[in-house]
């Protein structure tokens, strides 16, 4: 029954998508509407995946498309973000457009900022909004040792400050340099970053920034839909757009997609991040751990046994050598003794013989004397 429903939605959605591509209704409204239809209703997701293990996001998860060509740098998204997330008031009001002249990044007080860029090939300034890109396989979530970050099925990457230790490894890991930290909080600092307005989108509302954008530079919807829309725009205006959807595969793909008319590096986005999802960068090192745990004790006990045996053999050999040496000495001594004994005996015998002979001779002599 569910699949029937899903198929039905898909059909309706496809027709509506065609309309969207024809720009007949507000893209934003439409996508908000299909977003509210629930997580099972994605287009194309029923035929998701092939045989590979590449994770392309939760089926039907949401994303936001930022068409930088449409952005005028009005900062209304920044103001809306500040409001819906109840962040502290900024130093300068959001209506102050001078702020935008200086390159900024996200901070503990601002989840999103719009930066201005000049490009040699284009007349007039270019604008690009930055915030958490909600990676499909987030570096922050992979790096966190208390699992404070979670890639939810909505597509949003959420953060749970009730378990966070404040080690800031997520900030080291994030390739987009997004998470910020409350450095001035002595005992309860949190990581601060865009949540894709998780609490709003689960209620069927649009993220604050998307809702506020007057130029439709931001579009909320299913990631798969947005990818199709992106490609359609590039196809329709090949001269206006660079033929690349930033975020489709960067760091394994993100739930925030970007279109641009100039190379992305010219609007402050790194093009050297590669397509490897962050967890893959450390999976090899982690895989070695159980091997070390399993093999090291065996190896080390072996080394211990060998050194012990060596010691034993050395001792044995030493004992044998000592034994041998003592035996030899003993033998020699005995031989010497025996020799000396025989010699002494011989001497004794000869002495006795001599003495006997002498006595006999003397006896014979005295007898002769008496006789004479």
């Amino acid at each position: 029954m569910k699949s029937v429903k899903r198929g039905c939605y898909a059909k309706v959605s496809i027709r509506l998508l065609v309309e969207v591509l024809n720009m007949s209704i507000s893209r934003r409204k439409f996508l908000g509407w299909i977003g509210a239809a629930g997580a099972g209703s994605a287009i194309g997701n029923t035929a998701l995946a092939g045989g590979n293990k590449h994770f392309t996001g939760y089926p039907g998860s949401y994303a936001v498309l930022h068409d930088t060509l449409l952005c005028v740098g009005c900062r209304l998204c920044e103001a809306a973000c500040n409001k819906v997330n109840e962040l502290p008031a900024p130093d300068k009001p959001f209506t102050d457009l001078e702020v935008i002249n200086k390159k900024r990044r996200t901070t503990a007080k601002t989840y999103t900022v719009v930066n201005k860029y000049e490009s040699a090939g284009k007349k007039g300034p270019l604008f690009s909004k930055i915030q958490c890109n909600h990676c499909l396989e987030p570096a922050c979530a992979s790096a966190c040792f208390v699992k404070a970050f979670k890639k939810t099925e909505t597509g949003a990457v959420t953060y749970d400050s009730t378990v966070c230790v404040g080690c800031r490894y997520c900030m080291v890991a994030c390739p987009f340099e997004i998470p910020a930290y409350e450095y001035d909080e002595p005992l309860t600092p949190r990581i601060m970053k865009c949540t894709m307005c998780y609490s709003r989108i689960t209620k069927g509302q649009l993220p604050g920034c998307v809702e506020a954008c007057p130029k439709e530079a931001l579009t909320f919807g299913k990631r798969d839909d947005l990818l199709k829309i992106s490609r359609a725009r590039i196809r329709k205006y090949p001269d206006k757009y660079i033929d690349h959807v930033y975020g489709e595969s960067e760091m394994g793909g993100t739930s925030w997609l970007y279109l641009s008319g100039v190379p992305f590096s010219e609007i402050g986005m790194r093009e050297d991040l590669g397509v490897t999802p962050a967890p893959e960068l450390t999976s090899g090192a982690l895989a070695v751990v159980p091997m070390v745990v399993g093999l090291w004790p065996v190896l080390l006990t072996g080394i211990y046994a060998i050194s012990k045996r060596k010691e034993k053999i050395a001792e044995q050999e030493l004992n044998e050598a000592v034994q041998h040496a003592t035996d030899e000495v003993k033998e020699k001594a005995e031989a010497k003794l025996a020799e000396a004994l025989t010699k002494a005996n011989k001497e004794k015998e000869t002495a006795i013989e001599k003495a006997v002979k002498k006595a006999l001779e003397e006896a014979a002599k005295s007898k002769a004397k008496e006789d004479s």
Partner: protein
């Protein structure tokens, strides 16, 4: 640094005590600032530079330099090099204090230090290399504590407990080597997740291997270096065996260090070839990289070898300092100097003086505790009641 102050009839105001006391007072004041004003009050850390000196030096260097414990105990108890036995206790003590101070230092750096056990009792992020580091450091600290306990137990005269611990020596040693292999390498593997931030000459898939192998160098060199200092300051505490074995320990460890440094040099070169980074050697970072591997890896390897051949103890001792500095340089390169190399200089990190002061404070605490222990417990000598009883 004179240990004459230990005798009660002398004044407390020896140069060592005055300097140490001064550093400890400053450190205590900064401690208050840290826990009332947050990291912003005492550090130059920023959103782009979340890790500074307290991770680069206190954690990475601290753990590497505390490797003497596992290196020495495995040499003596597993590889059967009994003639180095007198080096075990000082090395275990240094290791134990080193790790204890690393954990102590982390309390300053992390946001909510009382949550440090959370990864083990609340929710485990087992995909994180930091989880592995945390688990191994916590376990290894326990192992080192147990390995160290015979000394205080002899001091306290608890013979039965001591006998029990001594029986566990082999198991503890093996466990210690397993844990050290894991967390020494994992400290390097921490940076595997950030190829876009660490300069390619330092970023390598071999980072965990480099960190592990260089920790052996650090361990061997620290034993030599520390014994040099101890002989200078605590000679009167040493017994005949310790004094007579010392030359052998120095020569033996220097020989080992020379070989390991040579091997480390070779795998570093292999790393450049593997990543095909030769073209980067001509850049300014390349020259800095060459300074590290020629001046602080190849050179100490050579000098150790010459020192061993000529039995030149003085040369070996100075070389051990060079090798230790090399390890410090390497860890700071990976975590601070070559990290975030892509950022403009205005966004780069340089430690605040109070960060340096806290690092000094922690090292000072280590030295004070070390001195307290070696002047009281049987570290450099065998307890008369337990001679030939190990």
């Amino acid at each position: 640094m004179s240990d004459k102050a230990v005798t009660a009839d002398k004044t407390l105001f020896t140069p060592f005590n005055v300097i140490a006391g001064f550093i400890i007072i400053i450190g205590s004041v900064i401690t208050i600032l840290r826990f009332t004003g947050g990291l912003a009050a005492v550090t130059n850390l920023s959103d782009n530079n979340p890790w500074g000196l307290w991770i680069g030096f206190d954690l990475l260097v601290g753990v590497a330099l505390a490797a003497g414990g596992f290196v020495t105990s495995s040499a003596v108890y597993l590889f059967g090099m009994k003639k180095y036995h007198s080096a075990v206790r000082p090395a275990i003590l240094t290791g134990f204090l080193g790790y204890a101070l690393v954990v102590f230092a982390l309390h300053y750096d992390v946001g909510r230090p009382w949550r440090l056990p959370y990864p083990f009792i609340i929710q485990s992020g087992t995909t994180s290399l930091l989880f592995e580091v945390g688990a191994c450091v916590a376990l290894y600290l326990t192992v080192l504590f147990l390995e160290f306990t015979p000394a205080p137990l002899e001091w306290l005269g608890l013979k039965k407990v001591r006998a029990l611990i001594v029986k566990m020596t082999l198991v503890l040693t093996i466990f210690g080597v397993v844990l050290s292999t894991l967390h020494q390498s994992s400290l390097g593997a921490l940076f595997l997740i950030a190829p876009s931030k660490l300069h390619p000459l330092w970023y390598s898939p071999y980072l965990p291997v480099y960190f592990f192998v260089s920790s052996i160098i650090a361990g061997l060199s620290m034993v030599i270096f520390e014994s040099t200092l101890s002989h200078h300051y605590f000679a009167e505490k040493m017994d005949e065996t310790h004094l007579s074995e010392n030359e052998g320990v120095t020569l033996g460890f220097a020989k080992a260090a020379s070989f390991v440094l040579a091997g480390y040099f070779i795998i570093k070169i292999i790393g450049i070839s593997f990543s095909d980074n030769w073209y980067l050697l001509g850049t300014s970072y390349g020259i800095w990289f060459l300074v590290e591997i020629l001046g602080f890896v190849a050179l100490p390897s050579f000098l150790y070898a010459v020192g061993v051949r000529d039995k030149n103890l003085k040369l070996i001792k100075w070389t051990s300092l060079l090798a230790v500095l090399g390890i410090i340089l390497n860890r700071l390169n990976v975590s601070l100097i070559a990290f975030n190399w892509h950022l403009p200089s205005s966004e780069r990190y340089f430690p605040h003086w109070m960060e340096i002061a806290i690092s000094l404070f922690i090292v000072t605490i280590g030295i004070v505790v070390f001195r307290f222990i070696v002047t009281r417990m049987p570290i450099f000598y065998e307890h008369p009641d337990y001679k030939d009883n190990h």
